[in-house]
């Protein structure tokens, strides 16, 4: 019931906003902000539910949709899902608040954001491929429209590119799952994972596609690659990230917050929830290949960020870099080594990194939005300078987020990165050793940005800027709290997912 209402509330809000003719822009934004508080509350309520000791679920709902086809709308929340739900509700709220603050969009815009939020809830809770995929694809439409209609001058092109690439990836994923459906007769994630754990998936595939003459190993590998493609585009993993910088830079800032804070997390979630449990048999074979891609993502993201002059593009590449760590950790966790603590570290680190990056990146983007608002749209590095003298509060809060992003201990970014490196180093040492360079470069491009934007003599163009208004302070305060608290007390987040991590490890048969 709780879950059902969580899934439907954003859609209801979208319907209200969509249907309320004549609602003014600012009223619509305010209404949407208030409405978006509801999912946050509901997420908190769901979090306070008792965990079912058998299934480890906080809440679930199921309805048989097409029983003949074996398709059921199964949604369930465990600790990991819950963390993503919380992130979704928080970042959506944040994006709506940011829209209200930056005065972007109106009725339709807010409705689209709410639709997006609802679909993301679906993605993070669905336990069956069909509803999951429906939601996954449905996120595309609002995000496409949001970028296309409210974006910058290059938005149509960027949005189209985003749409096509993601859709292309999804097609592969759909094909992969259709193959699984043909072979195993189910698309339920849990059933598939159980089949995989019992080594039944491979023979079934081989039996189904006997005409091709390929081995089950090869076929499952192909399916895994197909699924990975779909996820990799969203994440994004090199070389499927081409849509990202333009889309991030052209989208209106709140939408960028959603893109980086939530849409990319769909990829992480998919890697953890789908790729890892369903394909444990073939992943170790693919791991070196995927690991190369992940490390390249990390390094190229960081190096490319060095050459950017547009603040949003810098942040876009930094997102590539940060999500590369997630990809790296998941791939490492797929490697066939039985160091339970390293696996646990990699998986926990991935989730933590996803959550924290969502918060941090959207905070930084919001700050950039504020700067853009003050500068009248300019946002290249040379448009600013010496801001710390003029707007110290904005600079210190954004600086805090930036330092969290480059993994300063005591802030939320560090713990995730520590765990990821811990796990990856124990499982695939060379990857960690190379990726450390990425960590270093992150500091380089972020500090370069800080130096050019915040430090140095005050740019006369910024000499009249107002510092954060009270409203902006109150908007940023919770975000900053969400950066500080997990940094000092990571257990707050980890305790939600530890049981799930153990469950996943047991499923993957990784023994102590």
């Amino acid at each position: 019931m709780l879950l059902l209402s969580l899934l439907s509330i954003p859609l209801l809000g979208a319907a209200i906003l969509g249907g309320w003719q004549g609602l003014g822009h600012s009223c619509a934004r305010r209404l949407a902000v208030i409405w978006a508080l509801l999912p946050v509350l509901l997420a908190v309520v769901i979090g306070s539910q008792q965990v079912d000791p058998v299934s480890g679920l906080l809440a679930s709902c199921e309805s048989r949709w097409l029983p003949d086809a074996g398709i059921s709308l199964r949604f369930a929340v465990d600790g990991t899902s819950w963390l993503f739900l919380l992130l979704t509700s928080l970042v959506s709220l944040f994006a709506l608040v940011a829209s209200a603050r930056l005065e972007i969009g109106g009725r339709g815009y807010c409705a689209l954001i709410l639709v997006l939020e609802g679909m993301l809830f679906g993605v993070f809770t669905a336990r069956h491929f069909i509803p999951w995929f429906l939601c996954w694809e449905m996120t595309l439409i609002p995000s496409y429209l949001l970028i296309r209609l409210w974006g910058g001058p290059g938005a149509p092109r960027a949005a189209l590119r985003f749409f096509i690439m993601t859709l292309g990836g999804s097609v592969f994923m759909l094909l992969g799952f259709l193959a699984l459906q043909l072979a195993a007769g189910t698309m339920d994630f849990n059933s598939l994972a159980t089949l995989a754990a019992n080594h039944e998936l491979m023979p079934k595939l081989a039996a189904t596609f006997v005409g091709t003459g390929y081995s089950g190993q090869f076929l499952l590998g192909v399916v895994a690659v197909c699924v990975f493609l779909g996820l990799a585009v969203k994440l994004p993993v090199f070389p499927f990230h081409a849509w990202l910088p333009a889309a991030y830079a052209e989208a209106p800032t709140p939408v960028t917050m959603l893109l980086t804070g939530l849409l990319s997390k769909m990829g992480v979630y998919g890697l953890l929830r789908i790729l890892l449990p369903i394909f444990p048999e073939v992943l170790p074979g693919l791991a070196p290949c995927l690991m190369v891609l992940a490390v390249l993502t990390v390094l190229l993201g960081a190096v490319a960020a060095l050459a950017q002059r547009d603040l949003k593009r810098i942040l876009a590449y930094s997102s590539v870099n940060h999500l590369g760590y997630c990809a790296m950790a998941v791939v490492a966790a797929a490697a066939l080594q039985t160091d339970r603590s390293a696996h646990a570290a990699a998986i926990s680190g991935t989730i933590l990194q996803a959550f924290n990056h969502g918060i941090i990146a959207s905070t930084i983007f919001f700050c950039i939005g504020l700067m853009e608002q003050r500068s009248g749209g300019a946002r290249t590095l040379t448009d600013f300078g010496g801001l710390r003298a003029r707007v110290p509060l904005l600079c210190s809060l954004m600086g805090l987020a930036v330092f969290a992003s480059l993994g300063l201990p005591g802030l939320s970014g560090f713990v995730g990165e520590f765990l990821i490196f811990n796990g990856v180093f124990a499982l695939v040492p060379w990857a960690a050793a190379l990726a450390v360079i990425g960590l270093l470069l992150t500091a380089v491009f972020f500090l370069r940005m800080v130096r050019l934007v915040f430090h140095g003599p005050l740019n006369p163009a910024c000499a009249q800027w107002p510092d954060l208004s009270t409203a902006e302070r109150w908007i940023l305060a919770p975000a900053i709290a969400l950066i500080l608290i997990p940094g000092l007390w990571p257990q707050a987040l980890l305790q939600c997912i530890n049981a799930d991590t153990v469950r996943l490890l047991d499923l993957l048969r990784i023994l102590p």
């Binding site: 190096v303 570290a345 300063l408 560090f414 490196f421 380089v444 990571p490 257990q491 991590t501 153990v502």
Partner: protein, 680 residues
Amino acid sequence: MADALSPYLPTLLWLVPLLPLLAGGITAFMPNRMGRPASWLAIGALLVSCVIAVAGLACSLTPVHEHAAPTPPVYTWFSFGDVALQVGLVLDPLSAAMGAMVTFVALWIFIYSTGYMKHELRFGRFFCFLSLFSGAMLLVVYSNSLLLLFMAWELVGLASYLLIGYYFEKPSAAAAAQKAFITTRVGDMAFFLGMIWLYGQSHTLLFFDHGRGLLETDVLGSLAGITTVGGLTVSAAAALLLLVGAMGKSGQVPLHTWLPDAMEGPTPVSALIHAATMVAAGVFLVARTHPIFMNSGITGLPLSATAWIGGITALYAACVALGQNDIKRILAYSTVSQLGFMMVALGTGGVAAAMFHLIAHAFFKALLFLSAGSVIHGCHDEQDIRRMGGLAKAMPKTFFAYAIGMMALAGFPFVFSGFWSKEAVLHQAETWPGGHGPFLLAATAALLTAFYMTRQALLVFFGKPRSPGVSHPHESPPVMLVPLFVLAAGAMLLALVGTPAWPWFEEWLTGESAVFNIWALAKPEALKLIGLSLVLVTTGVTASWLVYRNPSSDSRAPDPLEIKLGGVWKFLGDGMRFDATYDRCIIAPLAALARVVDGIERQWFVPLMALTEGLIKMVGRWTGNADEKGLNDGFNQVCSGLQGSANSASASQSGRPQAYLRAIGLGASVLLILYFWLIS
């Protein structure tokens, strides 16, 4: 007091780092105009920390378990999966001595800053950063976990970044801050790798954990038993990585370039962070993890690497210091050189010597920086020693303090701590079985130290004022002078606890009780080194006096050494062109790489995408046309037919509310009349 406190110390110990951190956190929220209260809060917090740290020192003076590893309580910070990660604080002689030194020196530097930074706009912010730094530094010192140490280590780096960039409006300061952070981060990344390597193999990051800690025999043995890349044992590899981290923080060649630039920060910052404490954190890290260095297999590579790097750094920095003209940069290079001395001591196995030199150095170098600050303050922000001169008369108290610091650094005999600590280091190096290289390097460096310090003193305090700016210097206020005297007293009194006659400090660190034996001074090897030190100092001072006794009265005249050495002097002045080399070999290629990657991103991916787009659009247009022509037109015709027939039925409705009301009223009246007609 110590005994009474000792049961509570494990808990109270948390306060030592937390109080300054808390003060930093609170002052961060104070507006600029509340600068004074912010400074009081910072000083107050640090004072309490200092009291506790000194109490801790007092407690550890009386070793309860001799030769027993400490058993501090550990706390679970977080757990992932079913693994818990633990942290804690430890109070052993090493951390107790270091902690007491840090709090004490920092306290006086805080007090000094209230005078020195008086006219700054962001006065409160300065103390916020200072507090943040002190807290983090104390966490480094007391940490019982490599992870906690690393976290504090990074925070220290952040504080250093903020403080170097305190005058962020100056592009040079902003650049120096960035350089410091990134250069040290290079080392930090090695540290990070070393740490996770150690964790991956031992599954613990605690130093002392009831026999299961990293620095305890079981784990040390198991680590030394695993061989990895290049034939090194895990502990050797990790130790080397940790050493790189320490090099970054402690400004060892080749990661030293940030330290002279860091002098862009305010002088108290240079005194506290870039002389006394933070740069010593690297030395402290090696001292802390010394058992890993010691037990790294038979090669002993980490230790000899430490010794050689230290020796090279010591000599290199001493040479470069010869060619500097900025009063603070001379001191900065001297710091690098002295840190090299400490590394030599560590590499040659003398944790005690290194720590003694560290603490002594903290006192006299802080003293020197503060005196230099006083000089700069008095000369209206003039930093070039060629433009100073004759300040001894105008600023006698500063001169007095400076002289003590300078003599301690140069190693004037007997009453100055520097003499004895340097003697201890040389003693260690000389008796090292690995060779005489580090010893010779260090001894030469000692000679040069005496030379350049004398040069500096002569140019600054003697002769005639060489520029109008410094012709009317003024003495600093008491709030700046008192810390000078306190530190001067410390720089001298510390000599008492480290002489060979009563090597109390060393014995205490190693957990033995010292015996006073004046005749230890007369032992041949002691005499030999004392003699050597004396010779080195005297030579250096005399040579310098000969060269600089009559400085030219023109501030633009070339340096006497420049005349003699020519291009070499210029080379030294540029820090042996490390920066330029880095620019050419690392930064420029990196930028080029970034441009190439960006180019690929833009040039290669974009057309590919555009092609796909075009194809898809074409298909879309074709199907769209089919829809438009085939389906929609037919539908439209049906609709328009329907619409035409519906227009005639609506004429009877006038749309006026009152017309409707009247109709209702008439109807109701009719009904009423009917009703009455019916009932009556």
